[in-house]
């Protein structure tokens, strides 16, 4: 190195100067970083963390099982949920009818299996609608700020001021038609506010990061930056909230159906079956147990998953 005439350590002709020998020792900390592999992302680390939690596998099993039942109920029972004979009313469990019969003489096991679809469909539809609506409103308010933020935030406040179940009861009792779609639409139209608030906060904290400034400096349009850089980096809290919310929407749907203003009676659903079981509660309390247990198990699966995902995505909780 000292041979280079431009190097400041190279003495000019006629100048005497001590030059320390170049330090050939490697910088331990810098060289220890393995650059051959890409740095593991938040998601990779979260996944590695989640895999080790038994609670994750329990909740994942529940969710997969319930989804399978909802999609292919025929695989799990050969009985029809609407094949009811009054002669079997409140009958005891028999071979091929392991849970027995309800007041109408329908097979309880078959009704519990077929009831899964209504709950899962309403839960998934509502969550999808809430996430789309909430992230759109929240992202626009948080990213563009100014006028957009003022108007959209006040709009969110207005919808937030009406409790979800109260609003759902009022609207559902007014609607002329009640089906899976209307229940999901009503729940979504008042459920999106929390996601909007979460997204807004998350986007506002992400948009001031250096990588966003860098993307702008490289000439990316504002819309592209929002979609490609800001939103993916604000997704973690939204995903956690949405997972837990899916469970609570299923509960809300069952509550509405139980009150007689949710899903129509001809649709096999847990909420409707619980409402029917209420009449036979003193004679055969276990009739209530099966649909209620299936409902609680499904909701538990989603809430537990949300819990595990939250822990895995929170670096503060992970270190301990």
């Amino acid at each position: 190195m000292p041979e280079n005439p431009m190097h400041p350590a190279t003495p000019r002709p006629g100048q005497e100067r001590y030059t320390a020998p170049a330090d050939q020792a490697k910088l331990g900390a810098v060289d220890a970083v393995d650059t051959t592999e890409a740095p593991s992302s938040l998601w990779n680390e979260a996944w590695r963390d989640m895999r080790r939690r038994p609670l994750f596998w329990v909740s994942a099993t529940i969710i997969v099982l319930v989804s399978l039942v909802a999609m292919f109920p025929g695989l799990f029972t050969s009985q029809g949920p609407r094949v009811c004979q009054l002669a079997n009313s409140l009958g005891d469990p028999a071979p091929g009818h392991i849970f027995g019969f309800d007041r109408q003489g329908c097979d309880i096991y078959a009704r519990t299996i077929y009831g899964a679809r209504a709950s899962v469909v309403v839960g998934v539809l509502t969550t999808l609608a809430v996430v789309i609506l909430g992230t759109t409103v929240g992202a626009i308010a948080g990213y563009f700020g100014g006028w957009f933020d003022t108007v959209l935030s006040r709009l969110t406040d207005i919808f937030f001021a009406v409790p979800l179940v109260l609003a759902a009861i009022v609207i559902m009792s007014v609607l002329p038609e009640r089906n899976t779609w209307t229940v999901a639409a009503v729940l979504a139209s008042f459920g999106w506010t929390s996601i909007a608030r979460i997204t807004r906060g998350s986007v506002m904290s992400v948009k001031n990061n250096e990588f966003v400034t860098a993307a702008r400096a490289l000439g990316m349009s504002r819309g592209a930056i929002l979609l490609r850089h800001v939103l993916p980096n604000s997704a973690a809290p939204i995903i956690v909230y949405a997972t837990v919310a899916l469970g609570t929407y299923i509960v809300a749907e069952a509550t509405l159906t139980f009150l007689g203003i949710g899903l129509p009676p001809w649709l096999v659903s847990w909420g409707g079956d619980i409402s029917m079981a209420q009449q036979s509660l003193r004679v055969r309390p276990e009739i209530l147990f099966y649909p209620a247990g299936a409902l609680a198990l499904t909701v538990l699966g989603f809430i537990m998953l949300g819990d595990v995902v939250r822990d895995a995505l929170d670096p503060k909780a992970r270190k301990r």
């Binding site: 006040r154 709009l155 406040d157 207005i158 919808f159 001021a161 009406v162 409790p163 179940v165 109260l166 609003a167 009861i169 009022v170 609207i171 009792s173 007014v174 002329p176 469970g247 509960v251 069952a254 509550t255 139980f258 009150l259 619980i274 209420q278 509660l281 003193r282 309390p285 209530l288 209620a292 409902l295 609680a296 198990l297 909701v299 538990l300 809430i303 537990m304 819990d307």
Partner: protein, 308 residues
């Protein structure tokens, strides 16, 4: 602080107007005609219907109806039901009952939620902590109405410890079971919130200092850990009072309590729109005010919020 209070109060006004307009539009946009249905099979004559419509301002344009209604809310004149009872009388009967129920639920939540949450948070990762966590998830997963039935059946019918329904003029004992059912879900949330908060604060520097200077263990737990952990919990409890008043619809229905929820549900099914609008407005108002008070309390506790 004063400036913050003023700003928050001003923000409440458009939210209240927007929310009531939303509810009013929803209720009165319904397709059925309650006036035509009043007479039953034979029906009312056109002249009588006309007279009722003008009495309830139903013949005026929607926005005028809403403004007249708003004027009524401000002057505490909520109008009459179709059976000529002043709405304010019904409200005066129902509100104290629901308020008592919600308050009891809140006390149950606070005592058990904070108590169990504190013990679980102090021994994070222990057997008690694990059990309580799974139990709390279970309570959140079971819908309120299922819990209500099970409690009614087990505690009321089989054990016979508490009355099954409350009926007219409920007292403390008959409201105990409904309050427990109403509190259950929020109790689980309070518990989890307290646990997380306690577990976080227990490793804080000021707790170590307090221990190091020789303070007794109990004093460190109550004065240092608990007090600082309660800030988010108090916030949740405050906002929950509003939610409890509204969420009582199901509980009051199951236990036959003549509170706001039960009255509201009956009003919806019988098409008493004046009553529906008045009660929902009331519930929304309680919810907004509860959230406002929580915000102000939070700002008083944490100066960073005031200047944000």
């Amino acid at each position: 602080m004063l400036w913050y209070i003023g700003r928050r109060l001003l923000q409440v006004i458009p939210v209240f107007l927007g929310a009531t307009l939303l509810l009013y539009a929803m209720v009165f946009a319904l397709p059925g005609d309650p006036v035509a249905a009043l007479g039953g099979e034979r029906g009312l004559s056109a002249a009588v219907q006309e007279q009722i419509r003008s009495q309830y301002n139903l013949d005026k344009p929607f926005i005028v109806q809403y403004l007249l209604y708003l004027k009524g809310v401000v002057t505490l004149d909520f109008g009459m039901t179709f059976s000529h009872r002043p709405v304010i009388d019904i409200i005066a009967e129902a509100v104290p009952i629901t308020f008592r129920l919600a308050l009891m639920a809140l006390v149950i939540e606070a005592i058990f939620g904070i108590g169990f949450g504190l013990v679980a948070g102090l021994r994070k990762g222990g057997v008690f902590d694990g059990t309580v966590l799974v139990l709390s998830l279970l309570v959140i997963a079971v819908p309120t109405f299922v819990l209500g039935f099970v409690m009614q059946f087990v505690v009321g019918v089989q054990l016979g410890w508490l009355p099954i329904t409350a009926g007219r003029d409920p007292n403390f004992v008959s409201l105990l079971m409904p309050a427990m059912v109403l509190a259950a879900t929020s109790l689980a949330y309070v518990l989890r919130l307290t646990r997380t908060s306690v577990a976080e604060n227990i490793s804080a520097d000021y707790v170590r200092t307090a221990r190091a200077k020789g303070l007794p263990r109990a004093q460190v737990t109550t004065r240092h850990v608990l007090r600082n952990s309660l800030i988010p919990v108090v916030t949740f409890l405050g906002a929950d009072l509003g939610a409890l008043m509204g969420g009582a619809i199901v509980t009051e229905g199951i236990f036959n309590i003549p509170g706001v929820g039960g009255t509201l549900f009956r009003a919806i099914t019988t098409g008493e729109n004046t009553l529906v609008v008045s009660l929902t407005t009331l519930l929304v108002l309680v919810y907004i005010v509860a959230n406002l008070l929580v915000d102000l309390l939070y700002a008083a506790l944490d100066p960073r919020i005031r200047y944000a």
